[in-house]
């Protein structure tokens, strides 16, 4: 293995990841449009991916990479299913505002 180049410290990655995650989380809570909320979820997932990769690099193992790919696959599947659901919801209800979609409520 070649010697490691001068590294960006792990903390930096983690800070970026934390910021991204917080953006996603807060966005999910405060935005009303379902598509935006959906994008926020993707943001959170990617934040996690970033930490995984960073840790993987730090520990010199491939586990983190592996998980990242898993997450990406799941995210892709989720995007497919999720968008399909959103489309159907829109067709049925003619709205994408999350507050109006509350038929789970008793």
């Amino acid at each position: 293995m070649p010697p490691a180049p001068p590294a960006v410290p792990l903390t930096a990655y983690l800070i970026v990841s934390a910021i991204l995650f917080s953006l996603g989380a807060i966005g999910f809570v405060i935005r009303k449009n379902v598509i935006t909320m959906f994008m926020c979820i993707e943001l959170m997932l990617n934040a996690i991916n970033l930490s995984f990769v960073a840790f993987s690099y730090k520990h010199g193992t491939v586990d983190g990479h592996l998980f990242t790919f898993f997450v990406m696959v799941v995210a892709a599947a989720e995007a497919a299913v999720g968008l399909a659901i959103i489309l159907t919801v829109y067709k049925n209800r003619n709205t994408l505002m999350a507050d109006d979609i509350d038929s789970l409520k008793l």
Binding site: V29, R31, K32, V34, A98, D99, I101, D102, K105, L106
Partner: protein, 659 residues
């Protein structure tokens, strides 16, 4: 092998043919099948008996295993000993006669095929009952004849009273069967078998029980069973109602054969009974009470079939009395002679009813002697036989019973003699009312027809015959309407059997049956004949006839005066001691009411379901508190997740992190 199984098989085939295809067959074919199979069975009995006749020991045929579980092994097994031989002859012989008679009596009825199918089925079960060589096969016949009795009592199923009477018969019989089946279980526990020979062989070794023990309990339970089937007090209530069935049924099932099954079973179990003197005493007392009560009721009834029904109960009581005092031979003798004369009485009554266009109330009869002499002649034979006129069949068996009873207990003897007099009285009364005096049929206004019995729950008066006001049974015929009021003689197919039975009623007693039965029954002590006993017995019978003659022929105004004087007592007897009402009040109504209001609405729907539903609503209540969190808003949920995650992280952070 004598192919004993053929005996019940013939009627079964008849049942299957008539039951499955009878609807499409002409009446002549139905009659041919029905009568033919029973006669075939009778002939086969004759052939078999002649082949195996001395019959000092039973002839047993085993066919197959029926039930086998652990040590309980019950085969399909038929056996003939002398007791069975007698029953076989009575059942198939009288059965054949009654089948012939019924082809005439039922000729105009709807459901002709159904009637004969049931009747053949009855023969099958009765023969199984008699032939079966273990208690369970006997029980098969026992329940089976009960079923046929149910079907035939309810034959006029459009009439509510008929189907109710059928139910009553079945259910009361079930109470008896309850006792019988429990007795069987105890027999299995005690003897490990239900086969008669094995049970009796072991029972003979058991010491006589002078306190209540196993044998006594078995016998008392058997008595319950016998009382149900043979209509003994307190389970006698079904038999009078059973008269809702067609008259040939009353003759065959409710007089000659089925109801004597209890006596047969008691004699069959004689060895066990002899080990249980307490139970024997109970049998005798039940028999005596039944004989007395039923005979007194018989004096007061107006419906000719009801009179004979109570007479049957009373005579069965006599047989039980005989069995109870250990006179099993005379009991069976009386079964046979009773089968002759009581079948004759019922068939004769049927002929009378037929000739009266389905009128049963004796107050509307009278003077029929002139119109239907043959019927009168044959009935007279039965009359003197049941009254115990010397040298008739009934006299022999009755004297044998009375003699045995005297040696057991003089008090019982005198009560029994009195009952014999009452018996002679009520039969004579019915004969005088029916055949003597003036014909009262036309004199009674039509409205009166409906006034008599208590069972005038008329089913369907809507079939257009204006004249047939009397009864449904008057389904009868249009041609009756032409000469409605004039009684007319029954056809030959009906009086032919009557004549045969009449001959048997007179001479049937000359065959010394108890002596014949000795090999089949446990040895009984022989009692010396005392001539004065026979004189007293005969006198009682003749006295009864004379009194009846005075009251109903010589001084016809006397009965009314007497009933007026007796007042309440007479009403009580007339109302059959109000036993039915008492049962309704103490058993039926509380059971139904209690089941509905307490067991169902209270316990099931109220308490148990209340608890179940209570558990459900408690869960709902708890859920209700947690419900406000569930807004249904996705973003709120997200926020909750976030808050939760932050809380967990904060906890871990404060706690020092994961190690």
């Amino acid at each position: 092998m004598q192919q004993l199984w053929l005996i019940p098989l013939f009627p079964l085939i008849g049942f299957l043919i008539n039951g499955l295809f009878g609807r499409k067959l002409p009446k002549s074919a139905i009659s041919l099948v029905a009568v033919g199979t029973v006669v075939a069975s009778f002939l086969w009995v004759l052939k078999t008996l002649s082949a195996i006749m001395p019959l000092e020991t039973p002839h047993i045929e085993t066919y197959a295993t029926w039930i086998q579980s652990g040590f309980v092994n019950i085969p399909f097994e038929f056996a003939v000993d002398r007791l069975t031989a007698v029953m076989l002859l009575v059942v198939t012989g009288i059965g054949s006669l009654i089948h012939v008679y019924a082809t005439g009596y039922m000729a105009e009825e709807d459901g002709y095929y159904r009637f004969f199918a049931y009747l053949n089925l009855f023969m099958f079960f009765m023969l199984t009952l008699v032939l079966g060589n273990n208690y369970l096969l006997l029980f098969v016949g026992w329940e089976g004849v009960g079923l046929c009795s149910y079907l035939l009592i309810g034959f006029y199923y459009l009439k509510n009273s008929a189907s109710t009477a059928g139910n009553k018969a079945f259910i009361v019989n079930r109470v008896g069967d309850f006792g019988f089946s429990l007795a069987m279980f105890l027999i299995v526990i005690q003897f490990k078998t239900l086969t008669f020979q094995d049970v009796m062989k072991q029972a003979a070794q058991v010491p006589v029980e002078h306190a209540v023990g196993m044998m006594t309990v078995i016998c008392l339970l058997l008595l319950v069973g016998a009382a149900g089937k043979s209509a003994q007090v307190p389970l006698h209530v079904w038999l009078p109602d059973a008269m809702e069935g067609p008259t040939p049924v009353s003759a065959l099932i409710h007089a000659a054969t089925m109801v004597t099954a209890g006596v047969y079973m008691t004699c069959r179990s004689a060895t066990i009974f002899l080990k249980a003197p307490i139970a024997m005493e109970a049998v005798a007392i039940v028999g005596l009470i039944t004989a007395v009560l039923a005979a007194t009721i018989g004096m007061t009834q107006w419906d000719i079939k009801k009179v004979f029904a109570y007479s049957t109960i009373s005579q069965l009581g006599y047989m039980f009395l005989a069995a109870g005092v250990g006179a099993f031979g005379p009991a069976m003798w009386h079964v046979v002679t009773h089968a002759f004369f009581k079948a004759l009485l019922f068939l004769g009554a049927g002929a009378v009813i037929y000739s009266m266009h389905h009128e049963q109330d004796m107050r509307h009869m009278g003077g029929l002697r002139k119109y239907i002499p043959i019927t009168f002649g044959t009935l007279a034979c039965a009359w003197i036989a049941i009254a115990g006129v010397p040298l008739t069949s009934g006299w022999f068996s009755k004297e044998a019973i009375l003699g045995a009873v005297y040696h057991h207990s003089p008090i019982m003897y005198w009560i029994a003699v009195l009952t014999a007099m009452v018996t002679a009285f009520y039969v004579s009364r019915s004969m005088f009312l029916t055949f003597f005096g003036e014909f009262r049929g036309a004199a009674v206004p039509a409205a009166g027809h409906h006034g008599h019995g208590d069972e005038d729950d008329h089913g369907h008066d809507d079939h257009g015959h204006a004249v047939e006001k009397h009864d449904d049974r008057a389904h009868a015929v249009a041609h009756n309407a032409a000469h409605d009021t004039e009684p007319h003689e029954a056809p030959f197919v009906m009086w032919g059997p009557l004549a045969v039975l009449a001959a048997l009623s007179i001479v049937g007693g000359f065959f010394d049956l108890p002596h014949f039965l000795e090999p089949a029954l446990p040895p009984a002590e022989h009692v010396a004949h005392e001539a004065w006993l026979e004189i007293v017995g005969s006198a009682a019978g003749i006295l009864g006839i004379v009194i009846a003659h005075i009251m109903y022929v010589a001084k016809p105004e006397m009965p009314d005066a007497l009933t007026a004087k007796l007042g309440g007592l007479y009403r009580l007897v007339y109302d059959k001691y109000r036993v039915d009402e008492a049962y309704d009040l103490t058993i039926v109504d509380p059971l139904i009411g209690g089941s509905r209001s307490f067991l169902w609405k209270g316990l099931d729907a109220g308490l148990i379901d209340g608890m179940v539903n209570g558990a459900g609503s408690t869960a709902r209540l708890v859920g209700g508190f947690a419900r406000w969190i569930q807004t249904g808003n996705m973003r709120t949920y997200g926020a909750w997740v976030l808050v939760g995650a932050v809380a967990v992280l904060a906890y871990l952070g404060i706690g020092g992190g994961v190690r």
